[in-house]
Symmetry: C2
């Protein structure tokens, strides 16, 4: 294998004989001179071929892989930057022509076509920008939590029963038994938090929901924390802090990517406003909406409520018990209301969380109240019988967060290999 350096580095070392390698972005032929723009992960450079004998006999097409040995030099044309003068051009691997998707102008290709040719689409500047930002979000998330004493956990993906008693699970034969794909790491992160105290995970989850919408996928990745000796307010504080930290990090480290995506990222102010469900209902009623306490918000009401709150990011908290999972801790003085919250950012719910019930008897009572059967949840309930501290947690969808940060309106853009009702490939 030839030794090569990145284009970015070659530009910093003019006059030195080096080898660069990458893809042909475009070519231009003049009578006595040829230009090849070569691209690698660090950028592009123009290769100026004056000795036409160096030019490959078979010609060059877009996305051909080439290695060029030569020297970089400041261009004599003002503002043209650095060009590269070759001593040798080697064709490493030819690309079939024409290309099935337009890499230079993502917008020219339909999303479905781009997803069909995802490996080529990964070379498009817009797509690269999305995943560069997703990378920052992930590494900043993990980095902050690790620095702050959280233990990374590895919840199982194959489970024996529905963790939240819900439907929409993918079922599979597991040797002699039936098993399911986890729709949430809920029980597992609770089991870890009641011993490790502060835990986090980034893990795939699956929901066998039949509908196909621009904001849903059947396989997504969740970024979760769970924390002992914490109530809902304690983990809301962690959420707002880490969210702003991630957004600031993207703004600082991905200015080029945000520019490519024409995205002006607004960093919300700390602390986020806390709006109770009851306040939200009253706000809507005053604005003339037909809604009463206990109702869920319709989509237009949700939108209206966000306008009324008027903040880039806020918490909607203290929900009616009926609208949240059975394991949500009820207020001791008003068991119809639970310690549960949603975090709304950029007009979308990006996270929800609760303080969990850590007392077995109360858990049994609340399961029954939901019309479910405690005997179906015995192993879940038993986990809290041996010294479970109070605990709380939340979950952010990685792809959904990426959508909002990058300003995309189809979640498929923000998942490398999306899985929906129709799509199982590539």
């Amino acid at each position: 294998m030839f030794e090569r350096i990145y284009i970015e580095e070659a530009k910093r070392r003019p006059g030195e004989t080096v080898t660069i390698a990458g893809w042909v972005a475009r070519t231009r032929d003049l009578a006595k001179i040829k230009f090849i723009v070569v691209r690698d992960k660090t950028g592009e450079i123009q290769v100026t071929v004056k000795d036409l004998g160096l030019y490959p006999g078979e010609g060059l097409g877009r996305e051909d892989v080439i290695a060029v040995t030569g020297k970089a030099a400041q261009s004599k044309i003002a503002n043209a930057g650095v060009e590269f003068f070759p001593d040798r051009i080697e064709v490493v691997n030819k690309s079939r022509q024409p290309l099935p998707v337009d890499i230079a102008e993502t917008s020219q290709s339909e999303l479905e076509t781009r997803l069909n040719w995802r490996f080529l689409d990964f070379r498009a500047p817009q797509t690269r920008a999305i995943f560069a930002i997703q990378n920052r979000l992930l590494s900043t998330f993990r980095g902050w939590l690790t620095e702050n004493g959280y233990t990374e956990i590895q919840p199982p993906c194959i489970i024996s029963s529905a963790s939240e008693g819900g439907a929409d699970l993918f079922k599979l034969p597991y040797f002699e038994k039936d098993a399911f794909l986890a729709q949430s790491p809920q029980l597992y992160k609770q089991m870890c938090a009641i011993s490790f105290e502060k835990v986090f995970t980034v893990t795939p989850i699956w929901r066998a929901e039949k509908f196909n919408t621009p904001t849903h996928l059947n396989e997504v990745r969740q970024m979760d924390i769970e924390q002992a000796f914490a109530d809902d307010e304690a983990v809301m504080k962690v959420l707002e802090k880490i969210l702003v930290h991630m957004l600031r990090d993207v703004k600082e480290h991905c200015p080029e990517e945000l520019k490519t995506l024409k995205r002006d990222l607004v960093i919300p102010e700390l602390p986020f406003r806390r709006v109770t469900y009851t306040e939200a209902i009253e706000m809507l009623q005053r604005a003339g909406e037909q809604i009463v306490w206990g109702d869920d918000f319709t989509k237009p009401q949700e939108k209206r409520m966000m306008e009324l709150v008027g903040k880039e990011a806020f918490f909607l908290k203290d929900w009616p018990a009926a609208q949240k999972a059975f394991y949500s801790m009820p207020y001791s003085d008003n068991p119809e209301v639970v310690h549960a919250f949603d975090c709304i950012y950029g007009g979308i719910e990006i996270s929800s969380g609760t303080q969990r019930i850590h007392v077995p008897e109360l858990l049994r009572e609340r399961i029954s109240k939901k019309g479910l059967h405690p005997e179906n949840f015995e192993s879940y309930i038993e986990a809290f019988a041996y010294g479970a501290p109070p605990h709380a947690g939340w979950s952010i969808g990685l792809e959904r967060l990426t959508m909002i940060v990058t300003g995309k309106d189809n979640i498929r853009e923000c998942c490398m290999f999306p899985r929906d009702r129709e799509r199982l490939t590539p």
Copy 2:
């Protein structure tokens, strides 16, 4: 929720009135004084109760969760460290008694029992040490790769067909189609590397292997890299560097955990010795073993070969094509041998990798030669038709690496929630 500080911090702030909270590790009753040893994630402290009116009326048992407000003070008994004098003791949540597993002395409980009560087992010092080390391995792995310009990728878990043409896949109904759980991110990391150039992932994979052994699980996590413009030697260099980096990091940051596990971690010297398959066969033949070129090593031969090489870590490379996957790049001057390697560390194969074939025609030829049908691999082959650079990669099993580093001989100890033929819970 009460505000509490960690025990470690309370010890550093003697004389201040603070609240600590955690689990009752053990208690001791003398006539006029009671001792409670409280444990949290940062350590233990002895609470000395002189005013017996403070002691909870119902008594205290192991793993009861309590919060104690009071002051830390240097003990008057030499070498006894810091003790805690309470003003108030609150019982937060009682534990059922007796405990189903022994937390203080892991060895007293059978592994199966410990796994059945995994959330309690997470409180045992040995188990905590294993996962503290696994955490370091993971964060150091990701950190090093991120710093060195690798992009984290998210390969899909549900796939439409067998990526390596192998058997032992878990099959599941996916709406109107059949799908499989990925047994490897192979194709996906290749598709990413031929565009992003340097990629990594930590991802779950599944193998529906029927046998139940101490070193196999049906769900594990793989740590993978894939790199463009790289051959096998280039990624072997990355592997030995990152492995030594991870081991040094564990040795430096987890001395207490290694002590708990009675583990003396040997850091292998760089560079690792490269032993070719042919040399290994000759070595064994000279040592009197019945083996000829082309044979696979029997278990005893493998052990013998490791003794003959005599290194803590080494590469076994240049394998016969017949023993490696169809996508392994053959040597141009000897197509019976491929650019493939295993990395042996501590007597166990912890990683294997290859330079991949990036030329569609060669890929078709090699698939046929294996007795497989290229038409079943068309979408895989097509991915290399549009400008694929040469590329190579490898994979480390997270749980297997944790086993070797922690000196455990059952992989179940090194997986938070192991899945094997029999075990689907917790």
